[in-house]
Subunit: 155 residues, 2 copies
């Protein structure tokens, strides 16, 4: 993001606060029954006005853009390193989603460790629950017990 000015970053932080999501999930890998953690920055916009999402993608030099059936276009950024890099840049300007930002940054750090301990996994599960309670959630999410079960850890 060498080409990103302070006002670009502040604009993107405002956009994220207004109509974006910071998410953390456990995804099961179908092939081997194992799981992975997923960190996501997501921005939404009416597909007629998706231009700014492409501008953000260029600024970030990362992310996937997809058009949903309901005429909403999404920009998604995954990957521990990428999410960490971008959130560090946006952090000074984020106002609403400060808590989610801090939790994702902490999780990204843990997830980039060479060896993740059982204690780490328990912290990651707590972080998912914390982010869920901060986000405006419409559908029911997994409980802490259910998440620990996915990881084959005792409650």
């Amino acid at each position: 993001m060498g080409s990103c000015s302070k006002t670009d970053l502040a604009y993107i932080a405002g956009f994220l606060d207004g109509d974006g999501s910071l998410m953390m999930q456990i995804k099961r890998r179908n092939d081997n029954g194992r799981f992975r953690f997923m960190l996501t920055i997501c921005m939404y916009q009416d597909s007629r006005h998706e231009k700014t999402l492409f501008w953000m993608k260029r600024k970030f030099r990362i992310g996937y853009i997809s058009r949903r059936n309901d005429n909403i276009t999404e920009l998604r950024i995954n990957g521990y390193k990428q999410v960490e890099r971008i959130l560090k840049l946006l952090k000074p300007y984020i106002k609403f989603k400060k808590i989610q930002t801090k939790i994702l940054l902490k999780s990204a750090k843990i997830l980039q460790k060479k060896k993740i301990s059982e204690k780490d996994y328990r912290i990651l599960v707590d972080n998912i629950i914390l982010i869920q309670s901060e986000n405006y959630v419409t559908k029911r999410k997994k409980t802490k017990e259910e998440l620990l079960k996915v990881l084959e850890l005792t409650p």
Copy 2:
């Protein structure tokens, strides 16, 4: 907005682009059957996170904050002069809602004239239609013919 930095303005512009509205309507006055034009800048947020809306209100030194029944808090700014002042400040940073911004600024200028001609009123009606076609509209709005009728002008 003497205390508003460039990054404050860029943040607010991003927030407005992400989750705000720029609106223009004709409102009938009930008492005398006459009408007035209304220009509105509106920002929304989950009531649990309404703090940033209060921060914006302080920055703008204007606006009304109200909590809706669906747990959404709104910051509304009306008034031709106020809307003009704020949009002029935000304009350099707005990306999505550029067209709505330009139309509201043009309309604010007309509405502050001492004498508004019939030609002006027709331009204002066209501006309402233009803004509606740009905005993501869920409920049916008045057609151009209906708007002209409110103003007692022939189509």
